[in-house]
Amino acid sequence: MSTSGAVLLQAGESFTVTRGKAFRRLVRDRTAVLGLVIIVLVGTACLLAPLLAHHDPIATDFSNRFASPSRSHPLGTDNVGRDVFSRILHGGRLSLGMAVSATAGITIVGLLLGLVAGIYGRLAETVIMRTVDVLLAMPTLILALVIVGLLGQSLRNLVITIILVQWPRYARLVRGMSLRIREQEFVEAARAVGATRFRIMLRHIAPNLVGPVVVFSTIDMGSTLLAVSGLSFLGFGVGPPTPEWGAMLAEARGFIGKAPQLLAFPGLSITLMVLAFNLAGDGLRDLLDPRTVESTPGLERGRLRRRKAPSPAAGAGTSQVTGNVIS
């Protein structure tokens, strides 16, 4: 708990990459590009769902249940004859939409409260940071279950829940970083010419935080999608017949022997997107920790290199810095 805060803070400090350089480095990282391409392709397909899928995602057709994939139904039909392809695309709008809005919410709430705690100090800091401590002392999913259970089943409540349980990590990160920035000379200069605290926060500290925080929330997109679809799978998201990946998977449980593909399609969709977010996130994390890529440009991942003896730990430190460790 306390340790991961320090770890994030450390990562935030090393975020000093210039934009052009960072972009070039990201493009050179082929697995990250693969992740980005998947995100863009699937995201666009889901956005264009009404154009790409010819069938109504909730129109039933009892004469055509459990149909195999065909020209008219590329992924077949489900237990009440609904077109699975159309349901996957429309479901993606909800699943990905929820993940994106939850991420945006977490970022904004975490940024605001973290800034207030970091700048105003005293009472605001005590209240906010002690709340953060208590919330972080709970396993997130269990806390989320309780909150969403009390709020009641709906898409909006699901998103609110995810924001409520996830903002503390961001607030802690932002507060730590703003404490560092507050000590820097340009802030001192602003204070010397008579800028108010509010102005310093808004004009001098916030702009320096937005970059790293957005990067962190992007890295977290995969786990946010997992959380959203998990809660939805448990029945706290949409009700039938609305298509949503987690809910579709839950619905398909009943036909596991007869039509396992109904379970596979939404499952694969979630896995693919989480994988894509993780790949892209890995690339972004490397931007935060330049040690990895600079020592071996473009070769850290993806390409096979036959070399048994470990070099002086080129990529060793990366994963420890930012908390997410699959690299």
């Binding site: 709970m138 799978f233 448990l234 979630i270 048994k308 470990p310 730990a313 060793a316 994963s319 699959i326």
Partner: protein, 312 residues
């Protein structure tokens, strides 16, 4: 050392208190009147006297803070009220379910240790070799696949198609295998990659070069110098991993109809069984806090720099 432990404990107690208050307040703020709910579950059409009786039993006729005090006192003495849905004390139900979850968690933990350490060492020793790349792909997949999908994939393959294992439920060792694999998947991936990264860092240290130059082979270096030093960063993440384990247990218990506390939690929430929700969440929070405390202390034991911090 004692000072370090003392300081950690001092922080943990108020956190636990605040946590219990948060849980109590959260569940108490739920809409509807629980005493009417409880009375209605006992008799079809409760009379006002019966509702009043339920109200007194749930202490809802007292002021809010007294309610909290009574609940906390009950929690310390092992009485967390009557369950709405189960028609018996909450504590009895949890006792019955606890064993199943502990069994699953330990089986998973065992799998994690048995798998993660060798895989982490392998990844480090074959750094950038195809073995390491393969392990990276495997770890990424393990981190990306949702437990509820992975679980059903196993059921489809191993239970429905090959008929090797029972589909669900808790009947002896065979039924434990699939749930344990699902719970262990993510922590194994995380720890093995962490251990790999940590080992690589250790490998570049001077004392490893010394060990190599005095003629130790790779295996001896890993066993004598590598693992012990690489363990420190790994330990910091054990708390996080354990949190993941608790969460993995919830979903997995649902998928495999495993009669544990995780499933009980989801049931209690869907049935709006308020005393049960308060109890299981308090329990999860306490366990999580204690484990994190233990991890912090272990970290202090392993790394003197941590426990001496603040003495300067």
């Amino acid at each position: 050392m004692a000072r370090y432990f003392g300081r950690r404990l001092l922080v943990a107690v108020p956190t636990l208190l605040a946590l219990s208050f948060l849980i109590f307040a959260l569940v108490s703020s739920a809409p509807g009147d629980p005493s009417e709910e409880l009375a209605r579950r006992r008799t079809q059409d409760p009379k006002p006297a019966e509702i009043a009786e339920a109200k007194a039993e749930l202490h809802l006729d007292r002021p809010f803070l007294t309610q909290y005090g009574l609940w906390l006192k009950g929690a310390l003495t092992g009485d967390l009220g009557p369950s709405f849905a189960k028609k018996r004390p909450v504590v009895d139900e949890i006792k019955d379910r606890f064993g199943a979850t502990v069994e699953l968690a330990f089986a998973a933990l065992l799998l994690v240790v048995v798998m993660a350490v060798p895989l982490g060492v392998l990844g480090a020793m074959f750094h950038r070799h195809w073995v390491d790349q393969g392990l990276r792909v495997w770890a990424l997949l393990s981190a990306s696949i949702p437990g509820f999908f992975f679980g059903y994939l196993l059921i489809i393959e191993l239970a429905t198609r090959l008929k090797l294992l029972p589909v669900a439920g808790r009947q002896g060792l065979p039924s434990l295998i699939m749930p344990a694999i699902v719970v262990a998947a993510l922590p194994t991936a995380v720890i093995s990659r962490l251990l790999r990264a940590s080992l690589l860092e250790v490998f570049s240290d001077d004392y490893v070069r010394t060990a190599r130059s005095k003629g130790l082979n790779s295996f001896q270096i890993v066993a004598r110098h590598g693992l012990r030093n690489a363990a420190i960063p790994v330990v910091t993440y054990l708390g996080t991993v354990f949190g993941g384990l608790l969460e993995g247990v919830v979903i997995t218990e649902i998928v495999f109809a495993w009669p544990g506390v995780g499933r009980l939690t989801v049931e209690a929430i869907s049935q709006r069984d308020y005393p049960m929700i308060q109890a299981v969440v308090l329990m999860a929070g306490t366990i999580y806090l204690v484990v994190n405390l233990a991890v912090d202390m272990l970290y202090g034991v392993l790394d003197p720099r941590i426990r001496l911090e603040g003495r300067r």
